[in-house]
Amino acid sequence: MKKRELAALIDVSFTLNRGERIAIVGESGAGKSILGFSIVNLISKPGYIESGSIKLENKELTTMNLRQLQEIRGKRIAMIFQDPMMTLNPVLTIGNQLVETIRSHTNISYKDARNIAIEKLHNVQISSPEKRFDQYPHELSGGMRQRVIIAAVLLLNPDIIIADEPTTALDVTIQAEILQLLLSICRDNGVALILISHDLGVVSKVAERTLVMYAGHIVEEGPTLEIINDPQHPYTQGLLNALPQMTIPGQRLNQIQGSMPSLAERPTGCAFHPRCPYATQKCKQEQPQFIYSGVSSVACFMIEDMLNEFADTDKEVL
């Protein structure tokens, strides 16, 4: 059998400023989780980073060895996953795991570490943290576990938190609480946040800037509110219009035809063209470049043409 390589991310670039909260939005298969994992070089085999660079301040992360990376992971960049049990060890008490984390990175006594851990549990609004300290992960509810994870993340004062669908497995009421908590923690400690989510409602509550991904590309990037109120890219428009709250109850929803292509079936040109109502011949052949539309940065020929037209008329007027 011939081995094939499939690109999950293509030419993705963005910057995250200190203390900024950004969101990566997309449907399943868009490559948003892989992007999150790539940042801390946590891609499992057979995947690998083929080219490109990821810089934390001035340090290049892609060429670091495992030891240097481990220093970065946790201490500088922490991750929160959809399933808290991915991080929590089911056979150790919550307290033990927290204390272990502190003591593996700093040189303090068990008692001090315990005090810090309990304080952090208190910070994430866990009731009676002394009692929870001695409990096992399975004794806690999903929302409580996610709080413990956030406490664990806070222990080492990271600069960046990458949260991959942190509330997807939770009920709405719990989701609202966790989002609130995440937001206040980032604000209070000046931590930057990369929120990976498929839910535009969640994103609008937390992130200042949003990247919309489709089939391995970033198709639109801009301030969250602008993107939600005035989406430029046809995919973003479709995604927002498909939400039930965008139509009058009882009416048909505005659907996007088809579904996201798999990695192996990615079309040529703009990846969205088979589903795009505005697709032209050009979209089928060429990959659009990022262009600033005045609202957000968009990779779309339609927007590009529109802007060029405006520029031309402007010239004529002058």
Binding site: E27, S28, S141, G142, G143, M144, D171, V172, T173, I174, Q175, A176, E177, L179, Q180, H198, D199, L200, G201, V202, S204, K205, L225, I228, G238, L239, L240, A242, L243, P244, Q245, T247, P249, G250, R252, L253, N254, Q255, I256, Q257, S259, M260
Partner: protein
């Protein structure tokens, strides 16, 4: 005037958590006694589903909404209570007697990756119920019917020889719907049919369900936790908490003026796109596991308005002036 299709009264369901017979014996005060541990998933549900309407049941994990669906469909027997289809009681039927109702009531499941048999092609999946319930049909008319069904849910008939794993999640959910429609039911229970799908695909499936409802005058019992979908799709909404219905209202009434304290908290927690919504109401504690049959109001432990009466007696559904029914002592007493 709406005619009731399904009527449910006093429905209860308890799951025993120590199944094995030996494990049920305990020493109590020096005596050996048999004791069954159980979880009470449904604690007296009364509900009517009218012809042609979409009744949405919302609630959080563990509120018993999926159990309700399974009990109605006869996948698990109720511990107490009655279910009527039109004027016939259907909760105590055996497999043979139930066969008639199998054609009238169908179900769409949550996980499109598990609800289709991975070893059966789409053709096999659809032909089984059709030829099973219509043994008089000839092979060619079964084929015709399958093609028709597939086209009607937006799957090309030429792909009927393919296996489920060759389809995307949204397409699989369409095939599931086609299977449910294959016996021409007039009532469909949909247990979180959209929760495993992406937003753009959710819209496709929801549209399809609405089209089918219009075409065939279907009634839906739609179980979900996604309130945005409820607001769009439902005729009436039932809010469930710990195995009981605490509020039942026409959709617009529920969303414009939620009455029950739990409904209020639930609605405030939806992450809306406009950023200027009020802070979500924070509830105390978490949803408990009902190992004992609850005494009093199911919501008392987390309710900010609970008083002594709420701990002692369970509130019953009372009709409000705007057409909603609420089970809450505080509202009854005018405290809220």
């Amino acid at each position: 005037m709406a005619t009731p299709l399904i009527q449910i009264s006093g429905l209860e369901k308890a799951f025993s958590t120590n199944e094995s017979w030996l494990g049920q014996w305990r020493l109590r005060q020096g005596k050996l006694a048999r004791h069954k541990d159980s979880v009470h998933a449904l604690n007296g549900v009364n509900l009517t589903i009218n012809q042609g309407e979409t009744l949405c049941v919302v609630g959080e994990t563990g509120c018993g909404k999926s159990t309700l669906a399974r009990v109605i469909m006869g996948l698990t027997p109720p511990s107490a209570g009655e279910i009527h289809y039109l004027d016939q009681r259907i909760d105590q039927l055996n497999n043979r007697q139930r066969m008639f109702f199998r054609r009238r009531m169908q179900m769409v499941f949550q996980n499109p990756y598990a609800s289709l048999n991975p070893r059966m092609t789409v053709y096999q999946t659809l032909s089984e119920p059709i030829s099973f319930h219509n043994p008089q049909l000839s092979q060619s008319s079964v084929d015709e019917k399958i093609d028709e069904l597939l086209e009607s849910v937006g799957i090309s008939a030429s792909s009927s020889d393919r296996y489920p794993h060759e389809f995307s999640g949204g397409q699989r959910q369409r095939i599931s719907l086609a299977r449910a429609l294959s016996v021409e039911p007039d009532f469909i229970v949909a247990d979180e049919p959209l929760s495993a799908l992406d937003v753009s695909v959710q819209a496709q499936v929801l549209n399809l369900m609405m089209d089918k409802q219009e075409e065939r005058n279907l009634s839906y019992l739609f179980i979900t936790h996604d309130l945005a979908v409820v607001e769009h799709f439902a005729t009436r909404v039932a809010v469930m908490y710990l195995g009981r219905i605490c509020e039942l209202s026409p959709t617009s009434t529920l969303f414009s003026s939620p009455k029950h304290p739990y409904t209020q908290a639930l609605l405030s927690a939806i992450p809306r796109l406009d950023s200027n919504t009020a802070q979500p109401i924070r509830l105390i504690g978490e949803v408990p596991t009902p190992t004992e049959k609850p005494i009093g109001c199911v919501f008392q432990a987390r309710c900010p308005y609970a008083n002594q009466r709420c701990y002692e007696s369970s509130p019953s559904m009372t009709l409000q002036s705007d057409g909603s029914s609420v089970a809450c002592h505080a509202i009854e007493e005018g405290r809220l």
